[in-house]
C-alpha cells in the first residue's frame, strides 16, 4: 500500500488517483456548530499539481487537515492510494502520513534549537529506519533545495526563504510522493516567493504530487489545475471535469 522506499514517486501509473474524496464533509460540534466543509469531492492523480485557492475562513485549512490525515472527515469517503482511510487505526494513519505525505507550512515549523540538517533529519526519525545514512540523505535533500552550504546553521540565522527551503527539504527527504503545502509563501517577500515556487515547480517536474493551498491567485496560478474553496464548498476553476474518472468531481450543486 505504501511506498516505503520512495523510489517510484510517480506511482499509480494505472491511472487510479492517489487521493480521492467523495462527498466529504466536516462539521465542528458546537455550540455553535460549524459546518466547515460541505460535501466535497476531489480526485488527484499521481504527479498532479493542484492549487486550492480560497480566502481565509473558507474551509481550505480544514480540507488540508483532512487531506493530510491530520483530521477525520465527519462524513464521506477519503481514499489514499486506493485505501479508505476511515478504516485505519490512528497509528496506521500516522504511519501512512509519515511515509507518504510531506508537509510545508506557512510558518515553516522548524525547531529553533536544531540546525537546518537536523531539522531535515527529523522527518526520518519516526520512520524507524536505520540511523546510518540519515545525515547523508538530509544533506542531499538540502543540496536539492540549494542550501547545502547552510546545513549547520540554526533557523534563526536563516532568511525566511531559506527557512522555507529547509522545510521543503524536510518535506521531501523521506520521498513521500505527495507534498501538501499550506500557504507556502505566506511569510515570504515576492522575490523569495518566486524562488520557492520555482522549487515547487521543479519538485512537480521530478514527479512529486503537489497540493498547494493558498489565498494568493499568483501562487495558485503556478499550479497545473486549480479548485476554489468558498464557504466550505469546492468549485472547479477552468479544469476538466471528469466524473468518476477522477480528476475533479464537484458536488452539491455549487459548480461555478
Amino acid at each position: 500500500m505504501t511506498d516505503e522506499t520512495g523510489t517510484s514517486v510517480r506511482d499509480g501509473a494505472d491511472g487510479s488517483p492517489v487521493i480521492r474524496l467523495v462527498d466529504v464533509t466536516k462539521t465542528y460540534p458546537g455550540p455553535p456548530e460549524v459546518r466547515a466543509l460541505r460535501p466535497c469531492s476531489l480526485a488527484v492523480q499521481p504527479g498532479d499539481y493542484l492549487g486550492i485557492v480560497g480566502p481565509s475562513g473558507s474551509g481550505k485549512s480544514t480540507l488540508l487537515n483532512i487531506l493530510g490525515l491530520l483530521d477525520r472527515p465527519t462524513t464521506g469517503v477519503y481514499e489514499f492510494d486506493g485505501v479508505d482511510v476511515a478504516g485505519l487505526t490512528d497509528a496506521d494513519r500516522t504511519r501512512l502520513r509519515g511515509s507518504r505525505i510531506g508537509f510545508v507550512f506557512q510558518s515553516f515549523h522548524l525547531l529553533p534549537h536544531r540546525t537546518a540538517v537536523e531539522n531535515v533529519e527529523l522527518a526520518l526519525v519516526y520512520g524507524g529506519g536505520p540511523r546510518a545514512g540519515r545525515r547523508e540523505a538530509a544533506l542531499r535533500a538540502l543540496a536539492d533545495v540549494g542550501l547545502d552550504h547552510r546545513a549547520h546553521a540554526l533557523p534563526s540565522t536563516l532568511s525566511g526563504g531559506e527557512q522555507q527551503r529547509v522545510a521543503v527539504a524536510r518535506a521531501l527527504v523521506g520521498s513521500p510522493g505527495v507534498v501538501l503545502c499550506d500557504e507556502p509563501t505566506g511569510n515570504l517577500d515576492s522575490a523569495t516567493t518566486e524562488r520557492v515556487l520555482d522549487l515547487l515547480d521543479r519538485l512537480n517536474d521530478d514527479g512529486y504530487t503537489l497540493l498547494v493551498i493558498t489565498h494568493e491567485e499568483a501562487v495558485a496560478a503556478r499550479a497545473r489545475r486549480r479548485v476554489r474553496v468558498h464557504d466550505g464548498t469546492l468549485t472547479v476553476d477552468g479544469g476538466t471535469l471528469i466524473v468518476d474518472g477522477g480528476v475533479l468531481l464537484p458536488r452539491g450543486g455549487s459548480a461555478a
Partner: protein
C-alpha cells in the same frame, strides 16, 4: 516504530534545549534527594559512632561514687572498709575496686632522706586490691598486692609503667622502694596496661587501709569511688543494688552510674533527627515533583507546534507521550544523581569535620537517582498525556 535511541536522543535534546530551566527544575529533586541521603547517612554515621563508643568495655562497667563527699567540708570516706568484699558478693559482679587519689599530693621520691629529689607529675592513689581485676590491668613485673596486704596495713606499692620509668625503677630483683612523704614503700609490682583506668599507669598505688593510716580519708575535691566490672547485661541491676549493699542505712550517700542503654541512645537519635528531617526531605521531593510537573506542562504548551509538527512527520501519540515522559524522568534522574552526590559529600564532610567514620549504605547511592527518576516519571505522566492528546491540526496552526 521509532528507535529507542532516537527517542532518547529527542528527549535529551528537549532537556538540553533550555539548560538553565532544566537546572532550576531539577533543584527541588536535588534538594529532596540530597536531604534524604544526607539525613540517612548522618543518622547511620552518628549511630555508628554510638555503637563504636558503646563497647563491651563500657557495657560491663559500673562506677559507684561518693555522693555525700561532694557536700562534705572535711575529708570523709562513705565507703565501708570491706566495700570490695560486699560488692563481690553480688550476683553479676566480677570484680570491684575502691580507689581515690591522695590529695594534697604527697612528696614522692625514689631515694630516702636528705638526698631525696622529689619526682613530680606522678599521682599517688589509694587502690584496693580489687582495682587490679576491675580495671583490667596487666602486670609487667612482680605481683599486685592483695587483701592480706590491705588488711594488715602493709607499706607496699604497685607502680604504673610510666611512674616506674620516671622513678627510675626498671626491675624488682633488688626489692626497690619508693618514699612517700619520707616513708618507704616496697614496690611489689609494675603495671603494664590498664583497660578502664589508664591513669593508673602514671600513678603509684598503695592499699587503702595503709593510705587511711598515713594520709587520712580522701579530700572532698577528690572523693573515693568504686569501679565495678560486671557480667555482660548485669550492669543495670548492679547499679541499682550497689548503694544498698554498701550503705544499707544510707544508700543515698552513694551514687552508682550504669552505662547508657544502647537502645535508648538509638531511639533518641532516631526520634530527634530522622522524623523531622525526613519529613522535610519528603516535602522537598514533593515540591521537586511539582516543579517538574509544572515545567513539563509549560514545555508541552510552549512546544505544542513542535508536537503538531512531530505528529505530521509521523509521530504517534505514544511517541509524543514517551518523549515528554523521558524528558521528565531524565530531569528527575539527573536531579536525583546530583542530590545523591551532594548528600554523600555532606555526610563525608560532616564526618571528616567531627573525625567520625562515615557510614552510608551503598544501596542509598543507587536508590537516590532511582527515587529521582520515579519522581520525574510520576510528575511527567499528566503533561505527557496532555501532549499526546493534543490535536495535531490545531497545534500546527499556533
Amino acid at each position: 516504530m521509532i528507535r529507542s535511541r532516537d527517542l532518547l536522543a529527542e528527549a535529551a535534546a528537549g532537556m538540553l534545549q533550555r539548560p538553565g530551566r532544566s537546572a532550576l527544575t531539577m533543584m527541588g529533586t536535588v534538594l529532596g534527594v540530597g536531604t534524604f541521603i544526607a539525613i540517612i547517612g548522618l543518622t547511620s554515621t552518628a549511630g555508628g559512632q554510638i555503637s563504636k563508643r558503646f563497647s563491651v568495655l563500657q557495657a560491663t562497667q559500673v562506677v559507684v561514687q561518693d555522693a555525700a563527699a561532694a557536700e562534705a567540708t572535711r575529708p570523709t570516706l562513705s565507703f565501708p572498709d570491706d566495700a570490695e568484699r560486699r560488692l563481690g558478693r553480688l550476683n553479676g559482679v566480677e570484680a570491684a575496686g575502691l580507689h581515690w587519689p591522695l590529695a594534697p599530693a604527697p612528696v614522692l621520691s625514689s631515694r630516702p632522706g636528705a638526698v631525696a629529689e622529689p619526682v613530680s607529675g606522678i599521682e599517688v592513689h589509694a587502690a584496693g586490691p580489687g582495682v587490679f581485676p576491675a580495671a583490667g590491668v596487666r602486670i609487667q613485673a612482680g605481683v599486685s598486692y592483695n587483701t592480706w596486704h590491705d588488711e594488715h596495713h602493709q607499706a607496699v606499692a604497685v607502680l604504673g609503667a610510666v611512674a616506674a620509668r620516671k622513678l627510675g625503677i626498671s626491675h624488682l630483683e633488688n626489692g626497690p622502694a619508693v618514699w612517700i612523704d619520707g616513708s618507704p614503700y616496697t614496690v611489689v609490682g609494675v603495671l603494664d596496661t590498664s583497660e578502664r583506668l589508664p591513669g593508673l599507669l602514671m600513678s603509684v598505688l598503695i592499699p587503702p587501709r595503709t593510705a587511711l593510716d598515713h594520709f587520712g580519708p580522701p579530700s572532698p575535691e577528690h572523693p573515693a569511688q568504686v569501679l565495678v566490672r560486671t557480667a555482660l547485661g548485669a550492669a543495670g541491676t548492679i547499679a541499682r543494688q550497689a548503694p544498698l549493699s554498701l550503705r544499707p542505712e544510707n544508700p543515698m550517700s552513694l551514687e552508682a552510674q550504669a552505662p547508657p542503654d544502647p537502645r535508648t541512645l538509638r531511639d533518641t537519635v532516631s526520634s530527634d533527627l530522622d522524623v523531622l528531617f525526613l519529613a522535610l526531605a519528603g516535602i522537598a521531593v514533593f515540591i521537586g515533583a511539582l516543579g517538574i510537573a509544572n515545567t513539563t506542562m509549560v514545555a508541552v504548551l510552549e512546544r505544542s507546534s513542535e508536537i503538531g509538527l512531530r505528529r505530521a512527520l509521523g509521530a504517534c501519540r505514544r511517541h509524543i507521550a514517551g518523549q515528554f515522559l523521558l524528558e521528565s524522568t531524565g530531569l528527575g534522574l539527573l536531579g536525583g544523581l546530583v542530590g545523591s552526590s551532594l548528600g554523600v559529600v555532606t555526610v563525608v564532610g560532616v564526618a571528616v569535620q567531627r573525625s567520625w567514620t562515615p557510614v552510608l549504605d551503598p544501596v542509598l547511592a543507587v536508590a537516590g537517582p532511582g527515587v529521582g527518576a520515579v519522581v520525574g516519571l510520576l510528575a511527567g505522566a499528566y503533561p505527557a498525556l496532555r501532549a499526546a492528546s493534543l490535536d495535531p491540526a490545531l497545534s500546527l496552526r499556533r
